[in-house]
Symmetry: C2
């Protein structure tokens, strides 16, 4: 459906020629994201300043036209697919690092800055921003904030909600506002910063973020532990997290995923085992041997096959490249893979991995589990290879979510809800909780123009 | 104004005889808090279960009667003073620790549990809950959450917003709900948990909290540095926070406060100096010497008088007891002390302490500054001794807030807003930001019965 002519005129006033497109090719390019879902917008705009974002929201609101903010579309839930048409606002050109202020341990950035570019810019200062999704080289900070995207380091350093001090944004009302502080502490009114983080563009467009920086630890040690079976590895994870030294990464890879990684990268030295843990410990060099030993001690137990410390940088790199090859390897096997990221309390991980194995057997379906075990956050990926398997996968999915909720867990640890998990929200949240969320949505976006059809069922 | 008879009947149905009082003595006892402000409620109730809190909110809502939740009233902003009368709900009897689950690094508690009691219960497990206000032995977790109360350890371990996984609560609508997770990570909908934390009882009554626990570091070292003047100490703070080792406490005490502490506790060994820093570093014993040296190196610089490591537990205790004696010592000097907790980016601390000295001289008023310098969070206390000084103190206060905002800081780091700072909120937050906060308030509490007259101007 083409946009109202009056809206298009207003958009032409707000955006220069090369920052507004209604051409089909451009609209198609912004129709999909990494969910592989797709729906064409009626126009694409490329804001480069806060004032434009404000004028854009007000114009869309006046005409009741949907508006979808987009970083780099690397999310897997369809959060940036414009299912109701309207305007996509891609923030890829609003990508300046405005300030790196290590004296105050903060950086001020525009939303289109790539996560990887920020990390590179921080490197010489000895600081980093902890959220590190696998897509870090090509995903944007704005997207990370919208989806509360995390990654392996979250187990020690937290997600975007723990690493953001303040935001500038435009609410669905069209009003620009700031929230949060430039300080590491604040108790001045409601916490709108954390409310926007993880709201998937349904409340406001983020136009600037003040990020909390963390000093880079001076040394890291990587351990690799293999186990006879997934249950033994899951029990080791629970033991590791119950002792005082918190690893800066604690990744789990099951037997199916190990096989995929071996097939995908035969020279990476990926071992044959029932399950593998990659454990990283960081800190000051003097403390590292004791920390690594504390973690190693907890990793030992029934079912351990081998525990080794990566001796060289090359060995560490090989371990991580095997881990990072997992997603592409699965996509190759199953273009229609269903990519979940359920989360349970760490002590319930053994029950979760057992349950996943049972679901795979019951539905005769390849399912791999891997991911951020230190947070109890597993990527349980269903890999249907044909239509029959796709149908069975959907049945298995509903059972997976029911299992996770029964284990005191929740639907998503870091991918968010988008379109993909929206229908399952009532499993995780009561009608009352959802009602309060809808009340917040109405306060920020009374006409429901921001990213309609996402997150809230 | 007595409560409507029908409401009183309903309250009698909800609460047993000894859990409801309309007697004047009891009403007076719950009329005030540590702000020294006072306003009598019409009734006091003592909920002991979630269902009672729900019935209570619905009853008050039906009769449009104000309802003020209260922990132990140790806040300094009047946040629990029932300025509009109505019902005070004291959660002091809802004080069970429901679960300590170190495998999942969490504890589930009722709101009336005292912070100090929780820490004691966690001690044998080797864990702690980081928020540690000076009032820890007698303040409640529910109050800590309502006010986002922090303390010295926040500089390394964060405030309640960084240390709470989930909540159970009753909104002003009367609906009970849960938010957050039992996991250390979650991306399932809007972050209502952080929204309630710091909302000072204006959105919901908290009836249960799932707290994130942190492993207790195995060793601590305390350093004391004295400086010729406050500027030199403030510059040292900025240097300490700009290097990688984060201290677990970094407290600043100015010359006026040091003199008060010496007068109050002559045997505590409080030195004569222009300013003092107390610095604590924690971690594994192997790493501690290197960490302490890194911090000491940063503490050295122009204006350093003496830098010493507390050699014995007794010496450390003496240092902390001098620090903790500051609040009572000031109250003795000035029963009407105005207790502020402004916060600025750490690099602006030298400007803040200089500005405070100028304000004290300009208004001929005793002002002491001390507090959590590692967060840029200073308790700037104005100590008027007579009516003329009280009048000048109010003028000085407005100038202090203007200074803080000009330095990119905000009104409160940890005490919150309550009644005391409500009129100053428009200095810190724009009309748009306040408007969005009002929209959230209306969604949670459409009839405005929860803690009216607080936080939002």
């Amino acid at each position: 459906m083409p946009l109202p002519a009056a809206l298009l005129d207003t958009l032409r006033d707000i955006f220069r020629d090369d920052a507004l497109s209604v051409a089909e090719a451009e609209r198609l390019a912004y129709a999909y994201d990494n969910s592989r879902l797709s729906a064409s917008p009626d126009a694409v705009v490329f804001p480069t300043e806060h004032a434009q974002a404000g004028a854009l929201v007000r114009a869309c609101r006046e005409h009741h036209v949907p508006l979808v903010a987009r970083g780099r579309g690397s999310n897997t839930t369809g959060a940036t697919v414009p299912v109701a048409g309207g305007v996509v606002a891609s923030f890829e050109r609003m990508n300046r690092i405005l300030r790196i202020d290590t004296d105050n341990r903060l950086a001020v950035v525009e939303p289109g800055v790539l996560n990887g570019d920020l990390q590179q810019a921080l490197e010489p200062h000895g600081f980093f921003w902890p959220p590190d999704p696998s897509s870090a080289p090509w995903c944007s900070i704005g997207g990370n904030l919208a989806c509360n995207s995390a990654g392996p380091r979250t187990v020690k350093y937290g997600s975007p909600r723990e690493n953001t001090l303040g935001l500038r944004a435009v609410a669905g009302t069209g009003e620009g506002f700031r929230c949060g502080t430039y300080t590491s502490k604040g108790a001045t009114g409601y916490d709108l910063t954390r409310l926007l983080i993880g709201s998937e563009g349904t409340l406001a467009l983020i136009t600037e973020a003040t990020l909390k920086l963390t000093p880079k630890p001076s040394a890291v040690r990587t351990l690799r532990a293999t186990y006879t079976d997934v249950g033994a590895a899951a029990r080791a994870v629970a033991r590791i997290m119950a002792q005082p030294v918190t690893p800066c990464a604690l990744e789990f890879i099951d037997d199916v995923a190990l096989k995929l990684a071996r097939d995908h990268a035969p020279d990476a030295g990926v071992p044959v085992a029932g399950a593998l843990l990659m454990i990283e410990v960081d800190g000051e060099p003097d403390a590292l041997p004791a920390s690594a030993e504390a973690v190693a001690q907890a990793a030992r137990g029934d079912g351990l096959l081998e525990l080794r410390v990566a001796e060289t940088a090359a060995e560490t790199k090989a371990l991580w490249s095997a881990r990072k090859a997992l997603s592409p390897a699965q996509r190759k096997l199953s273009p229609h893979k269903i990519n979940e990221d359920v989360v349970v309390p760490v002590s319930r991980l053994p029950e979760l991995v057992d349950g996943v194995k049972r679901l795979a057997a019951k539905h005769a379906l390849p399912i791999v589990s891997f991911g951020h075990a230190g947070n109890g956050n597993l990527h349980v990926n269903l890999l249907p290879r044909d239509d029959a398997e796709r149908e069975r996968a959907h049945a298995a999915l509903a059972e997976l979510f029911a299992l996770v909720i029964a284990l005191d867990g929740t639907l998503s640890g870091e991918h968010g809800i988008g379109i993909a998990k929206r229908e399952f929200m009532p499993l995780a949240l009561s009608g009352e909780t959802l009602g309060l969320m809808r009340g917040i949505k109405a306060a920020f976006d009374p006409d429901g123009i921001l990213n309609p059809g996402k997150l809230l069922p």
